[in-house]
Amino acid sequence: MTDELELLKRDWQKKEAELPKLSYEDIHKMIWKKSSSIVKWILIISILEFTIPQLLLFVPALEETMQIYENIGVSNYLFALSLIIYAVVLFFIFQFYRRYTEISVLDNSKNLMKKILRTRKTVKHYVLFSLSMILVTIIIMLVGVYLNEDITHIVPELGDKLEKVSPDKLRMTLMLTLGIFGLVFTVFMGGIYFLLYGLLLRKLNKNYAELKQLEI
């Protein structure tokens, strides 16, 4: 076998003559092209993940939602919660930036993969955090609805029609709707996330596992 590999080596060196030759101009043009590396995609996706939830707050329709929070009587709690969330998000952005700057193509392959996967993990933690915050918000609202005495007052637009329905039934319906919406939304966001990174990093994970396996 060694002989066969030697044969391959000789041929490999001979084949150099057949390789394409790029001109100075060709190469010069390339150096200003945009990279499409995995690292860049992770950066783009992460920035979107950090910003999109924040942008959602500016959607006008959400002002009505704010009104609902107030009607339920939980706006103070949610305000406190959002302060905590922002502090944690800032921490995550800082962490993510630090991880990102650690990545260097000059590292050895295993370290490089390790650092990319670690960066991904930071983002994963952030996403898990955001998803659980959605759930916490929903739970606070559920508790709010449960403890609220004047249930018709929560959605005033529907007031007239709702007077005929018994308050208990209304309370249950409202809680159920909120709960289901919250769960579906969380699962949906989680699904998008896992799909995105699962596909992006499948190859990297495999290669890393291969190198890691050697350590045993």
Partner: protein, 164 residues
């Protein structure tokens, strides 16, 4: 200053472009992907160039960046050779069993090497480029012993592909 750096980089890369082409040949299956990977490697080399202090030879430094880009950073747009191709290799070997000319053997070896995993391919590549195990282990981030063990496994793997 920047222009000067640019000029120096492009000239050096042009002189050593074979290394990048060889990596592209191993890791891609068609001309488009070859050019795609070549470009990505060039971008990564250029981005890392300001940190290149000349402690190592430019070419040595290139191996690391080029391989890292191929195994770690680059996203293939096309699927790698699938099992169907693998089957056809086996089939072909059986058919050619009695006609073992050097040319045939080489063809089969190249095909077999292309079917290895990304990391194995990197090892074979460095081996073909006559890098010693110290360099190989440093580039990939594994110990020298592990690099040898892995290389032996690859040899066995290639042997089974060639002599089923």
């Amino acid at each position: 200053m920047n222009k000067e750096l640019e000029h120096k980089f492009v000239t050096e890369l042009q002189d050593n472009q074979n290394i990048v082409h060889k990596v592209c040949t191993l890791y891609t299956n068609d001309r488009d992907s070859h050019n795609d990977l070549f470009q990505e490697i060039t971008i990564q080399l250029w981005k890392a160039y300001p940190k290149f202090r000349g402690e190592a030879k430019f070419s040595t430094w290139m191996y690391r960046v080029a391989l890292n880009t191929a195994i770690t950073l680059y996203r293939k747009s096309k699927k790698r050779i699938d099992t169907q191709d693998y089957e056809s290799v086996i089939f072909k070997i059986k058919a050619d069993e009695y006609d073992e000319t050097e040319e045939q053997q080489l063809k089969l070896m190249y095909k077999a090497v292309r079917q290895l995993g990304d990391v194995d391919k990197a090892l074979v590549f460095l081996y073909l480029e006559e890098k010693n195990y110290t360099e190989i282990s440093e580039t990939l981030g594994i110990t020298e012993v592990n690099a040898r063990v892995k290389m032996n496994r690859i040899k066995t793997k290639l042997r089974t592909i060639l002599n089923p």
